[in-house]
């Protein structure tokens, strides 16, 4: 059930409706072309040979037997990569030696995680390529694996990055006590006077928490198809959230001019942040250069789990001080995030968001980015925030319990608001945090009693700042009044529909009259990735501007037809018509029909850049979870679940609801049964969907949603990003519900049956 909490709007015609998505028929009939469906004449199939060791020196790679196998065309190693022209690259998580990126893609001197690519081969069919990969001989000198945070931070820990390249970047792997370390970066956020804050507090709590490493679990594995033409032009088809990001990353490691590289985004079967990283693309390109043939590579599920970018396992420590009325006075937070084999965990996101929903006058948040022998982490839906906010939402629940204050009421007493500072120094814009909390308190779910033994309820908040960035759009008006709308935003959540709807609204025309397409790097202007909950906001804004451009050009055209000044003509979307002097009217359709004879067809276009945090509407969500715990088996069953969220303005409410439900389910997975299980040698023991336990449909009740609409004044239609925040609250909400049900506090997620049984044993032993 979706509830929308805002005045019914007569303001909009298209926005707020739920039309069918343009890609729907192709997807349900199996016609949609995903990356692995691409077929080119003479195409070869590649296979990556991966390290069985988590940490080892590569002494020798001998491919002679593989190359001798009939059907095999080429073998690739790191030696085939050019020396990067730019020794240091910028990443979203800070600068890094470029060489490390080529070594991440194909290992050089060392392998740093199990599954690390060591060589790649291509052949006439995928089975021959598999056989050939098995024939490549690699000699390793196995090194001690740095398997856990404790291993990584031990004073005598083996050092992962001992090649000296870290010195290219200031502040990267600074020595600790004069010795090299595995701490890539450390930083501190905050303000106020911590000591004074704690000194005034009536109550101070201090706790430690852990979360496991989790994978995004998108259905479609990574894939890449590349053609390196004789003229030096390279084309890549891939499953990605952003063609321009892939172009930049591939160009950087292959020293290609941007103009020589075209990246075509295929339909995508899920990404959740992780499909902004290149894995197979440069390998496919280099194999194509070697063979002169198109080359395609596709990962299997084990490769996806072992060797792409999950999110960090984390450890956190938190201390909070409050008055007996529950007013927070001070908070001290320390977050230690596993980056994986290379620097760049989302610890900054966790640190920025941990205290996000609350006003805490004295605060410090310390973040550590620690490398260890696991795959390099990648973004995962609100990167860092679920693990960053879990400790806060857990300790607030304890605070509420100890102070005997309703847990949502306690949060409301500390609710952040317009103009309040965030941990990272930014100031909150026009936000709906209070509205969300109030919607929870008045919701029938929250007001109902939990009935039955071992049943409990928990609540938790989530905050995510959302992203802006650059987006382009153009709109071609056809003579029959139809419009083709092209943007650079890969569609992973119904964006083609949500963007067309905004265009239709701006023009006053029907959604069905718009053909909404995704362009590639050569056919549309620069557009950032579909990520950071930015697309409906930023690309929607570009689309709106493109509509304004069309309107202006139509006005000029009408002025020419009517022989008047352009400023005497106005386009009115409420009747989709141009209005001129003396009551002259020309509908959009009529104007379109006359375009060929009055100066030619027109195209509207726009390229917008939005980085202003005040304009990018931040997002808040609150979840209510009811669970039952089976005391005999330790199994937790979610009985009822309600997700309340400020969505700004829901362009397509059904898709917004889908985003919220999907995010909630992924968060519930983190809370209950998902986790990377490693042995002490850094080998993943559950690299399949059988044993990496994401929730399945019958594990869950229907997730009810409440869409609270507090429009974002920074967007023409009030949009704020909605896709990420819903993954944040479930961790705390479920843990708090478990406590309410059986009286134990889960401080280490996931709360799998084994963990619950152990906690119940402790409880029984302690009583």
């Amino acid at each position: 059930m979706t509830t929308t909490e805002s005045a019914p709007s007569t303001e909009y015609r298209v926005i707020g409706t739920n039309p069918v998505r343009p890609d729907g028929v192709d997807k349900v009939t199996g016609r949609a072309v995903y990356g692995a469906d691409v077929r080119l004449p003479g195409m070869l199939y590649g296979k990556v040979l991966r390290s069985p060791h988590a940490h080892a020196l590569v002494k020798r790679v001998d491919a002679s037997k593989a190359l001798a196998l009939p059907g095999v065309h080429a073998v690739l190693t790191n030696a085939d990569f050019p020396e990067p022209l730019e020794p240091v690259m910028q990443t979203v998580r800070g600068p890094q030696p470029t060489r490390w990126d080529t070594e991440r893609i194909l290992a050089g001197r060392k392998v740093l995680f199990r599954g690390h690519p060591v060589a790649a081969v291509c052949a006439t069919d995928p089975h021959v390529a598999e056989d050939a990969a098995a024939l490549i001989e690699v000699e390793y000198e196995v090194l001690q694996a740095v398997a856990t945070l404790d291993d990584a931070l031990a004073p005598d820990a083996p050092i992962l990055h001992d090649d000296g390249l870290a010195s290219l970047v200031d502040g990267l792997f600074d020595p600790v006590d004069g010795k090299p370390s595995n701490i890539a970066r450390q930083f501190t956020l905050g303000f106020g006077d911590l000591e004074a804050g704690f000194a005034q507090a009536d109550i101070v709590l201090e706790r430690q928490y852990e979360t496991a490493m989790y994978h995004q679990g998108y259905i479609e594995p990574h894939n890449a198809t590349a053609v390196w033409n004789r003229d030096g032009k390279v084309t890549i088809w891939t499953s990605t959230q952003g063609a321009f990001g892939i172009r930049q990353n591939v160009a950087r490691v292959l020293n290609l001019p941007l103009g020589d590289l075209r990246v075509i985004p295929a339909e995508i079967g899920g990404g959740f942040g992780a499909k902004n990283v290149v894995y197979l693309e440069p390998i496919a390109a280099l194999l194509s250069r070697k063979t002169g043939r198109p080359v395609q590579l596709t990962m299997n599920r084990t490769e996806v789990l072992e060797a792409t970018g999950p999110t960090s396992g984390t450890r956190s420590w938190i201390k909070v001080g409050a008055t007996k009325e529950g007013k927070l006075l001070a908070a001290d937070v320390r977050l230690e995030f596993e980056a994986g084999a290379y620097p760049g965990s989302p610890v900054a996101g966790g640190a920025r968001c941990a205290l996000g929903p609350y006003v805490v006058p004295n605060q410090r948040v310390v973040g550590l980015d620690v490398v260890l022998n696991r795959p390099k982490t990648a973004a995962y839906r609100a990167p860092g925030a679920p693990a960053g906010e879990f400790p806060v939402e857990s300790i607030l629940d304890e605070l509420a319990e100890q102070l005997d204050i309703d847990p949502m009421e306690l949060r409301l007493r500390n609710c952040t608001a317009l103009g309040m500072p965030r941990s990272d120094g930014a100031v909150q814009g026009n936000i709906g945090a209070r509205e969300v909390m109030q919607a929870v308190i008045s919701h029938p779910h929250y007001r109902s009693e939990t009935v039955g033994a071992d049943i409990g309820r928990g609540v938790a908040m989530g905050f995510w700042q959302n992203g802006g960035g650059e987006s382009s759009a153009y709109a071609m008006v056809h003579a029959d009044g139809r419009v083709t709308l092209v943007t650079g935003s890969v569609d992973i959540g119904g964006q083609r529909a949500a963007l067309a709807m905004q265009f239709a609204e701006a023009m006053g025309i029907a959604y069905e009259d718009i053909n909404s397409l995704v362009g590639d790097t050569d056919t549309i202007g620069f557009t950032g990735n579909t990520g950071g909950s930015r697309t409906t906001f930023a690309t929607g804004w570009a689309v709106y501007q493109a509509a304004m451009d069309v309107r202006e050009q139509l006005e000029q055209r009408a002025a020419r037809i009517w022989e008047c000044a352009a400023d005497e003509v106005a386009y009115d979307p409420s009747d989709a018509a141009l209005h001129g002097p003396d009551g002259k009217v020309m509908t959009f359709k009529e104007a379109a029909r006359r375009l060929p004879g009055t100066g030619g067809m027109i195209q509207g276009q726009a390229d917008i850049v939005s980085t202003n945090v005040g304009k990018v509407g931040a997002c808040f969500g609150a979840h209510i979870a009811d669970v039952h715990v089976d005391r005999e088996t330790g199994k937790v069953t979610v009985l009822r679940y309600t997700a309340v969220q400020d969505v700004g303005k829901a362009i397509h409410p059904a898709y917004v609801e889908g985003q919220i439900q999907g995010g909630a389910v992924q968060g519930i997975g983190m809370a209950l049964n998902e986790e990377y299980v490693y042995d002490s040698n850094g080998r993943m023991l559950n690299a399949s969907f059988l044993d990496y336990r994401m929730p399945v449909a019958n594990d869950l009740p229907m997730i009810d949603t409440v869409l609270v609409e507090v429009p974002n004044p920074g967007h023409p239609y009030g949009v704020r990003g909605v896709g990420e925040v819903p993954i944040i609250p479930p961790l705390g909400a479920i843990a708090n519900a478990i406590h309410d049900a059986i009286g134990v506090r889960v401080t280490s997620l996931p709360a799998s049956p084994r963990v619950i049984l152990e906690l119940l044993d402790e409880q029984a032993g302690g009583a």
């Binding site: 598999e130 005999e632 088996t633 049964n673 399945v696 799998s752 049956p753």
Partner: protein, 305 residues
Amino acid sequence: MQALKYARAASVDDAIRLLRDGGEAARVLAGGTDLIVQARERRREVHLLVDIKRLAETMVLAYHAPTPPDAPPGFYIYPGLEVGAAVPLYRVYGDPDVQRHYRALVEASHVIGGTAIQGRATLGGNLANASPAADSIPAMMALGGVARVVGAGGTREIPVAEFCTGPGRSALQPTEFIVSLYFPPPASRSGSAWERFIPRNEMDIAVVNAAAYLAFEGDTVSEARLALGAVAPTPLALPDVAAALVGRPLDDAAIDRASAAASAAARPISDMRGTEAQRRRLVGVLVGRVLRKAAARARGEEVPA
């Protein structure tokens, strides 16, 4: 996946011949839900698939009630349930006779994989694959199942309880395969039940599974069979624990004793699916649950799965 050949057996003898000629790397193909996955992941060397799905003998599904005492002289039908080794699970649990008389089998086959898997997967494949965690094997053991096997050396019967000899290993000799599975008719006042524990509700390998069959005379247990999965190198029949239930009423104390004895008899290991201690505890819990359920069913109560 490596290149492989496929052959459809035209008769039981044809299947034996194909298996003999194909040697070690020839494998019987039923639903393929284990075999194809193993071949694709190169966990098993396979060069020839011998499909046994088109044989009358492997596709039979028939139940015969015991011959009534007043039947005419000379009238006798071998009573019980015969399930061809290639009959897909959805037909097994969808069969009204199976539903009436063999509830443990319904419960186990209903949760193997999902709907799509159940359209192809078979009891024969689940047994021959000999996974220690296989879901249907403890149910088949509790129901007194017998595998009817043929091979170059002729036919023989192997009780399901003796079929598995180690993880992925069975009593089958080269060229032998299962034609069908036979289950005796249940006693008139009897019931069976099967349960497994998995952290999710679907698509998981059992951390522990358990099955029970109980028959009563008056309040007294007259017959009992109990079996466990995922707690030893093979699915585990517990004849001694079951025997201790016979000859007395099934009260709470008896159930607790059986649970404790089953926990002690289990030989679980710790792996990423569960620890040894967790599995032992779950054995006790599940044995209690299946005994209670089987007893309620024997009393004629409707107990949902």
